[in-house]
């Protein structure tokens, strides 16, 4: 009777531990249906970022499942029993070498495989297209608590009476390498466009170059990803992606509207 009770307790605790990997994996399998997964990717480099994410996710998944199952097995197999005595072990040199070497190799793989994406997004800025670091399409100003975009005047100046300032709506052309300068007027903010897989901090006093190429037209969310004060929650914007010719018309209309008199 006591043995049965003991077995049931062991089984119960084992199942409890087993629930962790089962629920963990299940969350990921179901995430898409619960609308918890990534939004679509519409930037040129979004696929690379996602690929890196999946590489790491699979590494972690395999490790997670293996270690969890091992843990569950140990919980079941080596739970306290009256008849057995604990043994003392000095450890196993080979085993320790293996479990140090494998993660080291994995980390080196991760470190090297991300370099290309990192250089592409953050270091090598487009220099062939219409917009470059020297001649960006726009400047985006973050301030407590909204986003404002500034387009240069017809001569390409970002200062002066004829620059165009628009709150909230950041309008850009599709299929174009868009370079812009990110600035902050007050504190740290972070420019985060989930569909681009792009996140860049805005730092007061710095004009940080950022680039993306949108592959699809439409309206997408821009949010602030750095807690910037009491109104952080309301610091939203919209990326409004237009076909190239429509973008040119839009910009020309904005320039003309500057001199409207209504």
């Amino acid at each position: 009777m006591a043995a049965l009770k003991h077995f049931l307790l062991r089984a119960f605790i084992t199942l409890l531990f087993l629930a962790v990997p089962v629920l963990g994996v299940w969350t990921f399998v179901e995430a898409k249906d619960w609308h918890l997964w990534f939004p679509e990717t519409i930037s040129s480099y979004g696929g690379d970022i996602d690929w890196l994410f999946y590489v790491i996710l699979w590494m972690v998944t395999v490790t997670f499942i293996a270690t969890e199952l091992l843990l569950v097995w140990f919980v079941f197999r080596y739970s306290r029993r009256d008849a057995t005595r604990a043994t003392y072990t000095h450890g196993n040199h080979t085993l320790e070498m293996v479990w140090t070497a494998i993660p080291a190799v994995l980390l080196i793989v991760v470190a090297f495989s991300q370099m290309r994406a990192w250089t592409e997004v953050k270091i090598h800025f487009p220099d062939q297209g219409p917009y470059t670091v020297q001649k960006p399409l726009m400047e985006i100003y973050a301030s407590q608590f909204d986003w404002r975009v500034r387009y240069p005047d017809a001569q390409g100046n970002f200062e002066g009476p004829d620059v165009i300032e628009v709150p909230y709506d950041i309008t850009v052309p599709v299929d174009t390498q868009v370079v812009f300068r990110l600035k902050s007027r007050d504190v740290l903010h972070s420019f985060f466009v989930p569909v681009f897989r792009l996140k860049q901090d805005a730092v007061p006093g710095m004009a940080i170059p950022v680039w993306f190429e949108a592959k699809k037209t439409g309206d997408y969310d821009l949010i602030c990803a750095e807690l910037c004060g009491w109104g952080h929650y309301k610091m939203a914007g919209r990326i409004h992606i237009l076909p190239k010719d429509q973008f040119d018309t839009w910009l020309a209309a904005k320039r003309a509207a500057l001199y409207a008199t209504e």
């Binding site: 301030s143 407590q144 608590f145 909204d146 404002r148 100046n157 200062e159 002066g160 009476p161 620059v163 300032e165 709150p167 909230y168 709506d169 007027r185 309206d219 009491w230 109104g231 309301k234 610091m235 939203a236 914007g237 919209r238 509207a257 500057l258 001199y259 409207a260 008199t261 209504e262």
Partner: protein, 459 residues
Amino acid sequence: MIERRHRRAAFLAAAALSSTACSFQPGAPELHYSLNRAEVEKNQQLADDPIAQTKLEGALQMMFGTPKAPGFLVLPEWSGDKFDPNYWGEDHVHADAAAWSALVESNRAHFRTQLAALREGRFDALDRPRFADDLWERWLRKRERIAKDGPDAKGDDGTLREDAIRDFEEYYPTLANSAAFYRNQCYHCHGTDGGGNGTTGPWLNPHPRDYRRGIFKFTALKGKARPRPEDLFRTLAEGIYTTAMPSFRRFSDAQLHGLADYVRLLAIRGETEILLESFYDPDKGFDFDVLKENYSDVVGRWREASEHYIAFEGKIPEMTAERIAHGRSLFSTPGEKGGANCVSCHGPAGRGDGPSVWAPGKEGVEYAKDDWGNQIQPRDLTRGVFRFGRRPIDLYRRIYAGINGTPMPEHFGMTITEDGKQRTMNESDIWDLVFFVRSLGSQTEVASAGGAGHEGGAR
């Protein structure tokens, strides 16, 4: 192992924590409009009479409702010209074809998932939109009818489905709905009564606007007029740059128009209240004639706002070096020498550091204050940041009519002396000032030649 006495301490701490957690009841506080204390204190007879104050609260509630159920009292004489302030904004937007079609377009974008579901007949798949409870309740009633009679049964104006689509496309929030929306988005700075005294208010510089005087800084109007619905809408949509007032473009046009309507209710309520408080006479009390007179005066002021619009017909003149130089001369010549006197507040280089905004007082420096009692900060014109728009026409209107509630005066018609002759400032002079101000923030050759100083101008 934890020692026994420690264990007891830990137990007590846990008990204390859990008891505070249990006693915390987050329920929403009772909402009500309060009297404007500062104004009550100004009238000693009212300040000493709590019964009269209660009567005043009741009278205001009769005229403007409560935060949960706001609404204007409709005076009989308004029925003649079909004016109902409860539908003020909606009627106004409806009358302007461009604004109405922008509103419908914006609703179509805002409710696109709901409209797609309606068109495809997925009536149970509609998501409840945020901050549109009035619309949702209307839809729920319609859904019941659709479930009973089918979507193609005859509704009020077409089939039930067409009616429902129109409800979403032509959505315009009620005052009660906008009040709830206001409490979600505006309340924590502007306060329940619109007194600029929300919980975040004291920590902001500049302070959030106190609507209760009916004075709004940024309008396209002259003569210190009350703002038009468009003016309030624009402030909501564009925000006021370099202040804590953000752009609310992420909401639909209808929602912003609704907020403007509610802000107008708060402002009219506040202004009526101040009038009733300052002219309180114990012999007359708050009888209906007194209330009606003040109330219809205030509403009248808001109704006639559009008559004060500063229209500018034709094309904006060319910005030339001569015009900028003339603007510079008007700007930098002090009032006593017959100039426009801008230099006295905005400083010789336009940096907002002129001598008139502060004076040595008994206890150190005393700064000039605006109508709300906040310290004046003249705009630094060299930064190119203009709070209510950087278009030439925006600057033109700022200079033309001044800024309500601040010492920035109306310039149109101001007397100036040039070449020994006295005359009044005209539109052309104002444009010259606009061009000079616009040149200050830029690196164009015209502006940098000789700096913006008093002496360096190309006269």
